[in-house]
């Protein structure tokens, strides 16, 4: 439909050739931003430093658990990136993890549900919770942070009711396929991490190359303008929250798989802040309209590297959050500087 554009009576303007040639050049030499390059450099530097500090760091015994631990945060972070690109935020993801985890754990323990079914169940449930957020935000037209503060409480209530004042014991080890032990790895790489990477790649493609992905950026840039341009703003916003719900449901399975055979009601606590930290360290603008999935994955990796590194170096474990705080400031500061440089250039 759209390619049949209006041709002015005067015909095609002259000199088309040169201009198109120029404009067809790539937007960027690589599909990678400055922030991502900085992050990669920082992570590499940290890994080298850690390796010098504790030679065991660069062994699979150390790296693999690190990848397993960062996978759920990165996965939720991918959804959060999409949401933040639209100018929203979701602080209810931690409660969503809890609801999904307890339902799935109970289903597996009490009803003997098989792993694939459990994962689908968890994602479906997460999708429904995301739908609740999305409907309230998109159609209630209320700022996302307010609604998700509210639903965080509601979801937590639901989760605690399902827990019924107890933990879930005896979770089967079929979930080990996500990364724990030898069965959980292919060529030494844990499956949860691989799965997360595949989803990150799909999300990258979706955000960068599909119309609806680009619409998410437009909405974050100026939602009114997007609406006037014919973008189905409400539907897109809704889809961002549903997507996050689905990913959070999957992340909940990763979280169960990471834990012990017992699931306690505090599962997932604090994950919303870790996910947001990963997203902002990755260079996504909290104001919306700008951001990348790759950055988020790197951000999650950085946070987990710091947390593990502090323990492995034998420093006081509480210092980890101090360093994470500092890294957030550095990462965002670097982004600010680059933007400023670009503006004055």
């Amino acid at each position: 439909m759209s390619s049949s554009t209006l041709t002015p009576a005067g015909g095609a303007p002259a000199g088309e050739g040169e201009h198109t040639a120029q404009a067809r050049g790539r937007v960027l030499p690589f599909p990678i931003t400055g922030q991502e390059i900085v992050l990669i450099a920082v992570i590499v530097a940290l890994w080298i430093a850690l390796w010098l500090g504790t030679p065991a760091f660069l062994t699979s015994g150390s790296i693999v658990p690190l990848l397993v631990a960062m996978a759920p945060v990165a996965l939720i972070g991918i959804g959060m990136t999409v949401i933040i690109i639209t100018g929203g935020i979701d602080v209810s993801v931690a409660s969503m993890v809890m609801v999904c985890a307890v339902v799935v754990a109970k289903a597996m323990v009490d009803s003997g549900v098989s792993l694939p079914v459990a994962v689908l169940l968890s994602m479906a449930l997460g999708g429904v919770l995301g739908l609740v957020n999305g409907v309230l935000i998109a159609y209630g037209r209320v700022h996302a942070i307010i609604i998700t503060f509210g639903t965080a409480n509601l979801f937590k209530f639901v989760g605690l009711q399902v827990f019924g004042g107890s933990t879930v014991n005896g979770i089967p080890d079929t979930l080990d396929v996500f990364g724990r032990g030898a069965d959980g790895r292919t060529l030494g790489v844990p499956h949860s991490f691989l799965l997360m990477l595949v989803i990150a790649a799909l999300a990258w493609y979706y955000l960068r190359h599909t119309p609806s992905g680009r619409h998410l950026y437009a909405i974050g840039g100026d939602a009114d303008a997007a609406r006037l341009a014919g973008v189905k703003v409400q539907r897109r916003v809704l889809s961002a929250y549903v997507l996050t719900g689905l990913l959070t449901g999957l992340a909940a399975c990763f979280v169960i798989a990471q834990g012990t055979s017992t699931l306690a009601p505090n599962v997932g606590a604090g994950m919303e802040l870790s996910a947001i930290a990963a997203v902002v360290i990755g260079g996504t603008s909290i104001m919306g309209g700008r951001g990348s999935v790759l950055g988020t994955v790197l951000g999650a990796l950085l946070v987990q590297t710091v947390a593990s590194g502090v323990t492995q170096l034998g420093w006081r474990s509480q210092l980890a959050s101090l360093f994470i705080g500092i890294f957030i400031l550095i990462a965002v500061g670097a982004d600010l500087l680059r933007q400023r440089a670009r503006r004055t250039a």
């Binding site: 631990a69 004042g165 032990g181 012990t260 055979s261």
Partner: protein, 327 residues
């Protein structure tokens, strides 16, 4: 430990209150745990409920959703308002609970602590599961017997400010230095109440100290966490762990050897003793030097100088007896 209370996890936890009871001479005993929803306190709840059914009292139980002193204080205030006869608290922060207990005592309520003491408060009794020394030493002995009496080990604790955990750690440090000169505590880390964090930290500790042969999980969330880390790293038999874990959550790890032993006590009995103590206090009964509480709980000692009622020595849970407990 016959699990008289049945399962504590009935659908929604409204069932945990027995407000119907209140006949003529019945006393109302209220217990406020550190937080709700963990097997440990829910087992105390079922023990307390069972006690009240047997000896005739009304058992109230309400815990905050987070281990948060402020949320706990709200609940204590509501029990003061309800005018319960005895109020027993497992304080998240003993110092901050002290003034509230004073307030309760001023309102004519008998106050006590259980599980965690508030020594600087007006509490009339502390219902202790086991002595601090007893627990610290049992943990150390349990681990070092598996480690062969020597080697490096690390502790994965939970809340950084949890007073009982910190006092056990102090005992472990002193006792290790004194009794096991060839053993060394290389690190103490804090994972909060988060199992996954405990697992990750235990993993990091094993990487950082390749010669590490022991791990202690200092609370019910980190005990299975450290065992899981050993299992994941494929170091069962090379690295040993003990912890303060509930029997059900530790059972799989005790079975495969990633945990050598869990040091605990009969939690339901502790709940039973708590309820019984509440009734004694409300009734104005003096506690004896040794008390026979029920057919199952006998010889409970009371130290009048420290006002500590001691359930007994800690219990070592192994793969052989883990199945005896349903929490």
């Amino acid at each position: 430990g016959e699990g008289s209370g049945g399962s504590a996890s009935g659908g929604d936890s409204g069932g945990s209150s027995a407000s119907g009871g209140g006949g003529g001479g019945d006393y109302t005993v209220a217990f406020v745990p550190k937080l709700q929803g963990i097997p440990y306190f829910e087992a105390m709840n079922s023990g307390g409920k069972a006690a009240c059914e047997e000896i005739g009292c009304t058992w109230l139980y309400q815990g905050p959703v987070e281990a948060d002193p402020a949320a706990q204080a709200d609940i204590v205030r509501s029990y003061i308002q309800q005018g319960v006869d005895s109020l027993i608290v497992a304080p998240n922060d003993p110092d901050s609970m002290a003034p509230l207990l004073k307030q309760a005592a001023d309102a004519g309520i008998k106050v006590a602590t259980a599980d965690t003491d508030a020594p600087n408060s007006v509490r009339e009794v502390f219902v202790s599961q086991a002595s601090t020394e007893g627990i610290g030493q049992a943990l150390t002995d349990g681990l070092l017997s598996a480690m062969g009496g020597k080697g490096k080990y690390a502790i994965v604790s939970c809340g950084q400010t949890a007073q009982n955990l910190n006092s056990w750690i102090d005992v472990q440090k002193a006792y290790t230095a004194e009794k096991y000169p060839d053993a060394e505590i290389v690190d103490i880390v804090y994972a909060g109440e988060d199992q996954a964090a405990a697992t990750q930290m235990a993993t990091d500790l094993m990487n950082a100290h390749p010669d590490l042969t022991g791990l202690v999980g200092e609370c019910t969330s980190s005990a299975p966490g450290v065992a899981q880390a050993i299992r994941d790293a494929g170091k069962i038999g090379k690295v040993f762990s003990v912890g303060l874990g509930t029997p059900q959550s530790m059972a799989p790890y005790l079975t495969d050897g990633s945990s050598s032993a869990s040091i605990l006590w009969d939690v339901e009995n502790l709940g039973y003793l708590t309820a019984w103590t509440g009734v004694q206090l409300a009734d104005g009964q003096e506690l004896q030097a040794t008390n026979d509480v029920s057919s199952d709980i006998t010889g409970v000692t009371f130290d009048p100088s420290s006002k500590v009622l001691l359930l007994g020595p800690p219990l070592t849970i192994t793969k052989d007896n883990a199945g005896d407990y349903d929490y």
